[in-house]
């Protein structure tokens, strides 16, 4: 098992309340409710493979420290819900990571291009067809990561079994469906 | 005299002559055949004047709290619940009351009757014939279908076979079916009600007949409304002040009112007060799952407090 590398750059001079409030607004979480007990980090399945632990994300978010926007952790949260289930203060660190990753993208500080690609390609796919076409998604992500050869042992048999069909469904009412993507543009800026 | 009346008189005379009670409270003939009047029979002679017909609209239990003697009371099935409610509140002593339940076929709503056949002040005779009420006025017999002129309360009567009493006279009759006097539109909202009551209460002359006729309103002389100090209701005579009085009364009888309609029948201005009390009553039934006048050993729901209620309210 690996340790969190805890690579946090910069110095603490004061608290960036602006960023802190933005995180609170986007995530809907009260950051100060967290007393940093570390139970989220302790239970997080992916934390040992990231740069900083979830409770450190929470601490940096409390400080409004910009370095958190560059972390990998905020991109690689898998939304498994373990942290929120066990948090003694009913805080949802996953939602905080989610909010941070959105800000991170806006600020151009994305640490995990593949994770970004995963969510963007995924949503693009839905937007264009209404449903996800797994094969297209896999190919697009392979392109993003450049890792073409792992999992071929899995993919090829699946393809041959017809579990990854070449063409997928498109929903009929795409026109109205697309409105759902536009409707809320203002609310989420 | 019908058979029921014969039995009533017989029972009353028996009770009086055995000395079991000092009075039998029932109905006698009023100044007009369509007007029964409460009668306190204290001897054979007055007991022989006891009657019972569809014009006996008074709820007699209103007299019980102020009496200090052992009396017998005639009661319609529905109004027996008033007695139960008074017992529940400890206002009357069960040992001092002998309850004679009467099988009732329904009571005539004078308002409905007058709407159907015109003023009945001058009636010379009134009787029930088959399914209709016949009133003779000026030698002319005017007829109205009984179901059309019966009280709203009688239409939904479910008390026939569970009258709270010591003795029951007569056989349960069939519940009449008919139309309500006033039909509230289904989409009646707060605004509708506000307009409605503003119009109705505009007539109120604050004679307090409603209050005095109400068995639950036993505060009577001490009514908060007429308090000389804290003026809950102002001196002006308008619908607003009247609403304050009636709303205050409705809240005070909430959980104790059996919705007998005595207040409405007492009102010289014909204000449909039962509607107001039925609404409050519905709320009580919904909130506390409580039916007034069902059990004599439970105090009214607004007079005690259960921890579960706090939990249910989510506080």
């Amino acid at each position: 098992m690996r340790g969190y590398s805890m690579k946090v750059s910069g110095q603490l001079r004061s608290i960036n309340t602006h960023l802190k409030r933005e995180i609170e607004k986007l995530s809907g979480q009260k950051l100060d409710a967290c007393y940093l007990c570390g139970k989220c980090s302790a239970g997080c399945p992916v934390a040992p493979y990231q740069d900083i632990a979830p409770h450190v994300v929470m601490r940096l978010a409390q400080l409004g420290h910009k370095s958190v926007l560059e972390s990998k952790m905020i991109w690689n949260c898998v939304s498994c819900g373990t942290c929120v289930t066990r948090c003694p203060n009913n805080v949802d660190p996953a939602k905080v990571c989610e909010a941070l990753s959105r800000i991170s993208k806006r600020e151009g500080l994305v640490n995990s291009k593949v994770a970004l690609a995963l969510r963007e390609k995924f949503v693009d796919l839905i937007k264009n067809r209404g449903r996800v076409h797994e094969l297209t998604l896999v190919i697009q992500l392979k392109m993003a990561s450049g890792d073409w050869f792992s999992d071929l042992d899995v993919g090829i048999p699946m393809f041959l079994q017809g579990r990854l069909p070449i063409s997928g469904h498109r929903i009929k009412d795409l026109k109205n469906f697309k409105k759902l993507f536009e409707g809320n543009k203002e609310g989420n800026k | 005299m019908n058979k029921l009346e014969e039995q009533i008189q017989e029972k009353a005379i028996e009770l009086l002559e055995k000395g079991e009670v000092s009075a039998v409270i029932g109905w006698g003939q009023g100044w007009n055949p369509t007007k029964a009047t409460p009668l306190f029979a204290r001897d054979r002679k007055t007991a022989e004047k006891l009657i019972f017909n569809p014009f006996c609209f008074n709820n007699l239990s209103v007299y019980l709290p102020r009496l200090n003697e052992k009396v017998a009371i005639l009661t319609k099935p529905c109004e027996a619940r008033s007695i139960v409610a008074l017992l529940a509140e400890g206002k009357i002593n069960r040992e001092n009351i002998y309850i004679i339940g009467l099988a009732c076929q329904g009571i005539v709503d004078i308002g409905k009757l007058e709407a159907a056949i015109g003023s009945i002040n001058e009636a010379t005779e009134a009787r029930l014939e088959a399914d209709s009420v016949v009133v003779e006025i000026d030698g002319e017999a005017k007829k109205a279908a009984f179901a059309d002129v019966v009280l709203d309360n009688c239409l939904s009567c479910n008390q026939q076979d569970k009258t709270y009493c010591d003795v029951m006279i007569g056989e349960p009759a069939q519940v009449p079916t008919g139309k309500a006097r006033l039909i509230v539109p289904e989409d009646a909202d707060a605004t509708w009600w506000r307009t409605f009551w503003a119009k109705e209460f505009d007539r109120c002359i604050r004679c307090y007949a409603c209050r005095e006729a109400c068995p639950a309103c036993y505060c009577r002389d001490n009514c908060a409304v007429q308090s000389l100090r804290e003026r809950w209701v102002g001196p002006r005579l308008d619908a607003k002040e009247a609403l304050m009085f009636h709303a205050l009364r409705a809240m005070h009888v909430a959980g104790r009112c059996i919705e007998c309609g005595a207040c409405e029948r007492a009102c010289p201005m014909d204000i449909p007060l039962t509607l107001l009390h039925r609404q409050v009553g519905d709320a009580v039934r919904r909130l506390f799952n409580f039916n007034v006048g069902e059990k004599a050993d439970i105090r009214p729901p607004l007079e005690f407090f259960l921890k579960e209620e706090l939990e249910k309210s989510g506080r």
């Binding site: - | 100044w31 001897d43 209103v62 001058e122 004679c207 005095e212 009577r220 007429q226 002006r236 201005m269």
Partner: protein
């Protein structure tokens, strides 16, 4: 001025013309209750009824503001309430109701301390009385000093069938008739005779009640048993007093606070507990039978002693509207017997039993 005749058609024209010069109030049958309502041109009053609500309130308002006060820099400013100006006519008032005003006048107008609001309004108002062509089941005016055709008010009328016999009784009345003289024609002696016949017939329909003298009734005061039994079924509400044309008790209450507010005068009822409650909580008429006794003795004894008349006009409204159908005539009959010292078996008997039953006034 001699009596005149007016046709039914002209009668309506007369009413319409009256509305042009003054406020005219006449009986009106509403959905729930009948009462005196202001008539607008073209309205047809319901002249054939005895209203549920007497016209008392037109002159003696149920609630009226008598003054307002306001605290300002100079102290307290008091503003007497103004009475609405303009002449009024109460049209088609029954002799009993008209007579009630003359009784109340004794208290409020012809006294050492006149009641200004009442007196002024009374002065503004002309009464056009309509004699009765028939008697109600509850009528008993003849027993209390009135009559169905009593000539009371400013103008007196009687329906003779298609035409009305009209007679001005006061200068005001003469003026009213003179103003529309063209609508009236001369009356004949036959008309007068007819009117007497009708009055006779109507009067004969009413019960003849023996009323004990004021003094004897007063002696009945101490007979508690009598009053207790009499009032046994009374609920002690105020319906009878509020609907009585002669009851004039009132109460004065303020609404407001230390800085500003209004003072109101409103009807009170001797049947109410609070009516008699004194400062400190003592109540001389705590039990409702004492209040009933007060009401009865006031009307039939004290008022008689003080003003010479019975303070009841026999309209029967208290009987009609009583929630427990209490019949005032019971009291009159039983008290008459009681003062004679007979035992009390009779209580609850109906004195009017056996009397002719009558129908709607035509």
């Amino acid at each position: 001025m001699a009596a005149k005749i007016i046709s039914s058609d002209n009668l309506q024209t007369w009413i319409d013309k009256l509305t042009a010069t003054c406020e005219v109030y006449a009986p009106s049958q509403g959905k729930e209750v009948s009462l005196f309502k202001q008539v607008k041109e073209g309205d047809k009053p319901a002249l054939n009824i005895l209203t549920d609500i007497p016209p008392k309130g037109l002159i003696f308002k149920q609630v009226e503001k008598i003054l307002s006060y306001r605290k300002n820099e100079d102290g307290i400013e008091i503003k007497q309430a103004e009475i609405e100006p303009g002449r009024k006519v109460i049209f088609g008032i029954r002799p009993c109701d008209a007579r009630s005003f003359t009784l109340t006048d004794k208290v409020f107008v012809h006294s050492d301390m006149p009641e200004t609001h009442y007196a002024k309004r009374r002065q503004q108002t002309a009464l056009i009385t309509l004699a009765c062509n028939d008697a109600c089941r509850t009528c008993f005016c003849t027993s209390v000093g009135g009559s169905p055709a009593e000539k009371v008010g400013d103008v007196w009328m009687m329906d003779l069938g298609g035409r009305y016999l009209v007679e001005a009784l006061t200068p005001v009345g003469e003026e009213i008739i003179r103003a529309n003289d063209d609508l009236f024609s001369k009356s004949s002696p036959e008309d007068e005779a007819e009117s007497l016949r009708i009055a006779e017939r109507v009067a004969s329909k009413m019960p003849v009640l023996e009323i004990a003298s004021a003094k004897l009734l007063d002696e009945l005061f101490t007979n508690e048993e009598f009053w207790i039994r009499l009032s046994e079924k009374c609920l002690s509400c105020g319906a009878c007093t509020f609907l009585c044309p002669t009851c004039y008790c009132f109460d004065v209450r303020d609404q407001g606070n230390a800085n500003s507010g209004d003072r109101y005068r409103g009807w009170d009822s001797c049947m109410f507990y609070q009516y008699n409650r004194a400062a400190g909580g003592h109540n001389p008429r705590e039990q409702h039978w004492k209040r009933m006794r007060q009401r009865m003795l006031h009307k039939f004894s004290y008022f008689v002693t003080q003003y010479g008349d019975i303070d009841c006009v026999g309209c029967g409204r208290c009987i009609r509207s009583c929630p427990v159908s209490y019949d005032l005539r019971d009291f009159l009959a039983t008290s008459a017997v009681a003062v004679a010292g007979v035992d009390m078996d009779f209580v609850g008997e109906l004195p009017s039993e056996g009397q002719p039953r009558t129908c709607d006034i035509k």
